[in-house]
Amino acid sequence: MISKRYVIRVQITASLIIFIFLIPVLYTIVSSFKSLSELFSTSPTFFPKEWTLNNFIHVLSTGNYLQYIGNSLVVATVSTFIAIVINTMSGYALAKFKFKGATVIMIVILSTIMLPLEIFMAPIFKVIAFFGMYDSLWAIIIPPAATPTGIFLMRQYLLTIPDDIIDSARIDGASEWQIFTRIIVPNAKPAIATLAIFSFMWRWNDYIWPLISIFSPKKQTLQLAIANLTGEYGTDYTSALAISVFSMIPMLLMFVTFQRSFVQGTVESGMKG
């Protein structure tokens, strides 16, 4: 039997660990409401003595941050849309068709996990430049839309759709594309939602693809812009903290709304993929 004292001890441990995960984020958020003098005070308090929106006003009025936020939103949205279409298509092919080379294709997809793009930044730059995509938002929209994780997520889910539905549609004379759009996609909604959430998060938080492909200041994404606030001569905390909070807001909203999907998606793609 499990003793009551044991349960209480575990409960307290779990509660204490929360502080490790929450306090750094919380301190960053409340600090972004501090005035300049409080930010650089030699005896800071955890919460601001006086709450002010000056940092946010400053950051939005001086830099091009609205533009960067806009770029990030466009990239994340369009790339997520493409990811849903092509990864669902691939997942369908791998889940519901028997064909020559299926194993080879699975190995190719798996091997892309083993080829971290972080390591091959220079040749990727060359390829992007060769296709005329350098300094274009398309370079950070199209290449990252194909994700092995997305394919596995979709494949895993689509395996659960009974073959009978697809076969009966074929007998009724539906074309393969009709089967895909009218049967597969509607039935795969939960998995598509999970993929959408993950893809949006990946693209919103991405740093490497924009770093390789974007040159013009106007085309920067939010993460690139935040990274540029730190440097050899120290960090501009007044802007960096406020803009970091901006970067966390969509993620926080998504997390609170779709918490279940995140957990489910991590399990499905991580475990079975």
């Binding site: 409960q11 995960f21 390591i119 091959f120 194909a146 905390y237 993620m251």
Partner: protein
């Protein structure tokens, strides 16, 4: 009758091509933007190509590899990265497993705990770097201020009489390196916790019940049921963690910038510098190939060890 057979044959042929059409967009992107760069990276590593030379480059054999292994900064970055993997992967593994086991206990508010432990996973590495830099900033970051007030309290009740000396935090190489390890674990353990948690929840309860009848204690249950049953999850997690630690970079950009004095400069950052700031694509590609060999042999080793355990 004959026409019907032909139609069926035609149908079969059509049916055979369809999966390839559905796979085409994904495979095209993979081939162009991942597999092709990896391959030309290998070719570049034997040439004197620079970032802006699009015409021919000279084949120079293993010259780049010789240069790379004679480059003290690369050796430093490489040993930093290997050290990081050796320290971070086991610690993060234990943290994630520990958290997962904790959340399998019969306590209240499990969903809330799971959400808060997982939450840092959603923050971009760039922002994680900013957050921890701010916590550790100079003498008056939250880190030093917390220790200062603890010190003040202990002085007040008469336990300490020495004056407080703030920690050098990120300007101390050793401290900065440990801080990077901590920040990686802080921001990523939640992800692996979920993988472990799912595996834990799929272990049949009957196994534990049977072991209880046989008189197994908590440790024995973990050692002989939980741990062996987590085999698949363990392998997945170890490989994913290894890959992740070897490619650490964005976090470091905003956290330490690789400093102080290259104490936290890891290979990806150095490859980036060589390729995009010194334009030495040939040399950078040689480094990439070396990294790829290391990463794949590490993952291969993990895979091999887990397979070997299976046959025993």
């Amino acid at each position: 009758m004959i026409s019907k057979v032909l139609t069926y044959k035609k149908y079969r042929r059509k049916q055979r091509t369809i999966p390839y059409i559905f796979l085409a967009p994904n495979l095209l992107i993979f081939s162009i933007f991942i597999i092709l760069p990896a391959m030309i990276g290998i070719i570049y590593s034997f040439t004197d190509r620079t970032l802006f030379s699009f015409d021919g480059a000279n084949f120079i054999g293993f010259q780049n590899y010789v240069t790379v292994f004679r480059d003290p900064f690369f050796i430093k970055a490489l040993s930093n990265t290997m050290g990081l993997a050796v320290v971070t992967v086991p610690l993060m593994f234990l943290t994630a497993l520990g958290l997962a086991v904790l959340l399998k206990q019969p306590i209240k508010w499990l969903g809330f705990y799971r959400a808060t432990y997982y939450w840092p996973v959603m923050i971009s590495a760039i922002v994680v770097g900013i957050i921890w830099q701010w916590i550790l900033a100079g003498n008056f970051g939250l880190y030093n201020v917390t220790f200062q007030s603890i010190h003040a309290f202990l002085t007040k009740i008469g336990l300490i009489s020495t004056p407080f000396t703030p920690s050098a935090t990120l300007s101390d190489g050793r401290f900065a390196w440990i801080a990077v390890v901590f920040a990686i674990i802080w921001s990523r353990a939640g992800y692996y916790m979920i993988i472990f948690l799912a595996a834990l929840l799929s272990i049949p309860v009957s196994l534990y019940e049977a072991s209880e009848i046989d008189g197994a204690n908590k440790f024995q249950k973990f050692r002989f049921i939980t741990y062996p049953m987590l085999k698949a999850a363990r392998t997945t997690v170890l490989i994913l963690m290894t890959m992740e630690v070897f490619k650490v970079y964005p976090l470091v950009v905003t956290f330490t910038g690789g400093g102080p004095f290259r104490a936290t400069e890891f290979t990806v950052q150095y490859i980036y510098q060589v390729a995009f700031q010194h334009y030495q694509v040939g040399i950078a590609s040689a480094m990439s190939v070396i990294m790829l060999l290391i990463v794949t042999s590490f993952s291969g080793l993990v895979f091999f060890l887990s397979k070997r355990g299976e046959s025993q």
